[in-house]
């Protein structure tokens, strides 16, 4: 690894005005940035430190974390969603991986930070997926659309409070007429006359 993460960390600490919480080492380094400064941090990492690839942008819902085990939630008070930006620094000459870094950003409610689409065009689809699955919005994308689910879908299926048995009424009424159909007891083909 030819990139020194400690100097990058010092620069980012100065940018954010406070030392960032860090965990992991080497390629598994994770820093926690305030959501409001996530875009600025990404821009700085891209322009000054060679993190030229957004490998992934995803979200974590920590509602009810530790409800059964009693483990303390890593979420700050009131926060529920965490955005995770995964960055790679690829060597422009060789294309080899110089460094890898993840940024955590705790989101206030479900109102996310500004879009990173101007820095990394691939963020467009990733943000649409985050919106589709978790309902975390991005402040400068008011008309964001779903990417995986169909437009008629109501709700955000990867939220912890999305009912696991919930059915969407796209295909017929849920209380339609009973159908002749296979059950778990059927092990052989069945023909319907």
């Amino acid at each position: 690894m030819s990139l020194e993460l400690s100097s990058v960390k010092a620069d980012l600490d100065a940018f954010c005005g406070a030392p960032l919480a860090a965990r992991g080492t080497g390629f598994d380094t994770v820093w926690t940035v305030p959501a409001a400064q996530a875009h600025g941090a990404l821009e700085r990492l891209k322009s000054r430190h060679g993190f030229n690839m957004l490998a992934d942008l995803t979200c974590v819902d920590l509602q009810g974390f530790g409800k059964e085990t009693g483990a303390p939630s890593p979420a700050p008070a009131g926060a529920r969603f965490k955005l995770v930006y995964r960055l790679s620094a690829l060597d422009p000459a060789t294309g080899l991986l110089n460094a890898r870094l993840a940024l955590d950003a705790w989101v206030d409610g479900d109102a996310g930070p500004v879009s990173a689409g101007d820095l990394f065009p691939c963020a467009d689809w990733l943000e649409r997926e985050v919106w589709d699955m978790f309902g975390v919005s991005f402040s400068d994308r008011p008309d964001i659309t779903r990417i995986l689910m169909y437009p008629e879908f109501v709700g955000h299926p990867l939220r912890k409070d999305y009912p696991i048995k919930k059915r969407q009424p796209l295909i017929g009424p849920p209380d339609g007429p009973p159908r002749e159909r296979l059950t778990e007891a059927d092990l052989r083909p069945r023909i319907v006359e």
Binding site: L148, I164, Q168, R181, L182, P189, R190, I191
Partner: protein, 156 residues
């Protein structure tokens, strides 16, 4: 029907059987393959199990030319309207085979994105359970379907 049909040259009672016989051994199938059951479908279709022994070896990738819609693999809500349109484009007489447990009931994909059985959107003639079904199971089901076709039975 008090007419005397015993005159020479009239064979009305045999025509249905002849048409049924011709249809059941010349199934043109439309393979709607979306998931891992497709692997098992390939082994049925290839020479080890050789679905062509039953006259069903000819896949047509146009629904206009197909008699049997083989729905092979998980159907999500997003692809469901496409499947329904393909079914509507097929000319009658047509039959639908639900191949694998995902198409029969949704299988273990009991979640927000999967159609819980294609019989919620199409009339299904033959259910073949299994995850995925053995080729022998598919051939047994195919023989049941041929029996139904011979008897001129159909749902659409």
């Amino acid at each position: 029907m008090e007419q005397d049909l015993s005159a020479p040259g009239i064979m009305t009672s045999q025509l249905d059987a002849a048409i049924g016989w011709a249809r059941k051994y010349s199934i043109f199938q439309y393979p709607f393959v979306t998931a891992c059951c497709g692997m098992e479908f390939m082994s049925v279709a290839c020479s080890h199990y050789d679905i062509d022994r039953f006259g069903a070896g000819f896949p047509r990738f146009s629904p206009r030319q197909a008699d049997v819609l083989m729905v092979v693999g998980t159907i999500s809500h997003k692809i469901a309207p496409v499947l329904r349109r393909i079914y509507d484009q097929m000319a009658a007489p047509k039959w639908v085979v639900a191949f694998g447990v995902c198409t029969c009931t949704g299988g273990f994909y009991d979640n927000y994105s999967t159609v819980q059985g294609i019989d919620t959107i199409l009339p299904v003639d033959l259910y073949i359970p299994g995850c995925p079904p053995r080729p022998e199971t598919v051939l047994e089901g195919l023989m049941l379907l041929q029996k139904k076709i011979q008897a001129q039975g159909r749902r659409a």
